[in-house]
Amino acid sequence: MPSVHPSSKKAAKGRSKSVRQPDSTDSEDYDSDNGGVDEKGMERLMSALGDDGLDEFDRAQLGLAVGSDSEDEDDGAESEVGEEDGEDSEEEVGDEEEGEQGADDSDEGMGEAAGGSSAQEGDEDSDGVDDAEDEEIALDELDGGELDEDVVPKQKVEIDDTVAMQRIRETIQLDTKMPWTETLVLNYPETIDVDVSDDLNRELAFYKQALHGANTARSLAAKHNLPFTRPSDYFAEMVKSDSHMERIRQRMLDEGAGIKKSEEKRREREGKKFGKQVQIEKLKERERGRKEMDERLKGLKRKRGDMLDKPADDDSFDVAVEDAISDRPSKRGKPQVSRKSRDQKFGFGGADRRSKQNTRESTDNFVSGSRQKGRGPRGSGPKGSSSKRSSGGNKRPGKSKRMASRSK
């Protein structure tokens, strides 16, 4: 342990205090441990009082913090004995304090290595380290030591020795005059300030950082004549192998296909839902159409009821029926009779003038005239005209239809 000038030690102590300050939560905890003594206020007071005041502060604080050690500290505030005492207890504390002795050695070694004028400075710095840790240790003892029953502080020892870190950084720092092409370091002028658990925004912030870096790097590279963009015909080994990239591509394709598939399915499902409605609508429409047709035919029958007996007028009846049926929906499913067969049936041009005339056979034939489709002479009797309709299509409607018509 190097012997320390009191003044330098005090200065170091003051520095270590200011070092600790940035961490607000820590200092608050510390305050609560000390029984509500406002550390900042105290410090301000001390700085106002100067060196002597600091001494008092030191004593007061040590008296507060360490019961047994305070005697040592009291009789000779900066005596060598006190220092030794502190060191003894340090060894018990463990890990981080164990390294402290090493710090002294290495500090001095470094100081010497740096040589000359900076050596003194380095020494002082290392003292600063010591002192900061002395205080920390006091706190630490308080944590694990005798006063455990009274106070249960959950606080960890925090070390943030900016002076030492700055010195270390300066020793390892690359030459600042080094051109940018040597390091390719870029600084993003913004801090990442997003919610940590918000994955999307967080990644977006990183992406923005990288994008900013890429763009600035391109202009910098242009300035430094550094080749940046890879030409499309420059082939070399890549970080990820071709087979791996193939797997990635396959996965992307699969993903795309999966999305497409699910979308298709969804649309189909929706279509089905809608299609059902369409089907119902269609059925209703059909039903309505049939009813209407029946109504019309019934009305026709009622109107022409007397005519049915008169065979002479069946042509006009046919026309009436045709008229009634004309606006019937074509979805009946009844195949249309082709032109040819119609021609065959009804005649076209002057095929045979007398072919539709009654002959003797047809006159004699009472039975088959109505049954034989289209062959027998028409209007051969009262039966013939009534059977005209039935001969055209189905002979007997289905059961459900019959039941329906009966119920009307």
Partner: protein, 298 residues
């Protein structure tokens, strides 16, 4: 295209040769007053025993990305870290990345400057390796990546120190033997939630969706990604005084034990409550009445 490359190369070579002439004369050993110093870094990469496959893959990724890395075999003992500076010296490395696996689940990363320090100990979490099929980017093996640090690193001294060390370790020096001439990826370090988030993006100059459109930079993540929580910074290499310790860091073992204790606490609470209920029930039971049915109609 080839002509462009040639032109670019010749340009770079001209530039380089000028530099090298100066560099060759000056850079011999440790020229402090040298006007143009080369960035010479070599990194020893190794792990402790007991790394899992994921950690091993992460190491492989880092090795693939950084051509100036020398990978060494696993270190047998976890207690003798002082061997590492020697090992680095044997491999002509002035940096070391040491992955320390504990309990086969916790991964710690030591980033150290050897032989004189400092060294940073960090806890590695949320590791995603390059093998994952979600990261679709790709880059040249050995191309020098850009390093991007956000402003948070400048706000604290430990941040500045960490940035400096990372610049040495993750920045590929131009003299690296296996390095390739073009820049096609960027490593980003972002300080968020007092943790360091690492990402690696491929830089694409042209939008693949409209190849004839104006050149527009887009990025695709290559991987790996991980999050580092700084624990301590030591003055020496793998030892020495602590110059920074993170008060917010809670060791993963402590976290796990806390969870377990909470679960155990739940059980204990339930049992206590059950007992208490029983006790109360018994206490509330009435004494047998003199005129109870069973007594009257005995």
């Amino acid at each position: 295209m080839a002509s462009i490359l040639k032109a670019q190369k010749s340009n770079a070579a001209k530039h380089d040769s000028k530099k090298r002439k100066i560099a060759d004369t000056d850079v011999v050993d440790d020229p402090t007053p040298a006007p143009k110093k080369r960035n010479k870094q070599r990194v020893l990469l190794l792990s402790s025993r007991g790394v899992t496959h994921r950690m091993r893959h992460l190491m492989n990724d880092i090795e693939a990305l950084l051509p100036h890395v020398k990978k060494d075999s696993k270190l047998d003992s976890k207690s003798q870290l002082h061997l590492l500076p020697e090992l680095a010296d044997l491999n002509n490395c002035n940096n070391t990345l040491y992955f320390e696996a504990r309990r086969h689940e916790d991964l710690y990363l030591w980033a150290a400057k050897t032989p004189n320090g400092p060294s940073i100990k960090m806890h590695v979490q949320n590791v995603h390796t390059m093998d994952e099929l979600k990261m679709t980017g790709n880059c040249l093996k050995g191309s020098r990546g850009l390093l991007s640090f956000d402003k948070g690193f400048e706000d604290s001294e430990w941040g500045r120190l960490t940035k400096e060390v990372f610049t040495h370790i993750f920045g590929v020096p131009p003299t690296a033997r296996k390095s390739k001439p073009f820049i096609d990826h960027i490593l980003t370090f972002s300080l968020l939630d007092s943790k360091i988030w690492f990402r690696n993006f491929q830089i694409i100059e042209k939008d693949p969706l409209q190849p004839n459109g104006p050149p527009q930079t887009t990025l695709v993540e290559i991987g790996p990604r991980f999050v580092l929580t700084p624990i301590r910074i030591f003055e020496g290499a793998f030892g020495g005084a602590t110059v920074y310790s993170n008060p917010e860091f809670i060791s993963p073992a402590a976290v796990r034990s806390m969870i377990r204790r909470q679960q155990g606490g739940k059980y204990n609470q339930r049992k206590d409550a059950e007992e208490e209920t029983m006790r109360r029930k018994e206490r509330r039971q009435r004494e047998e009445d003199q005129l109870a049915v069973s007594k009257v109609f005995a």
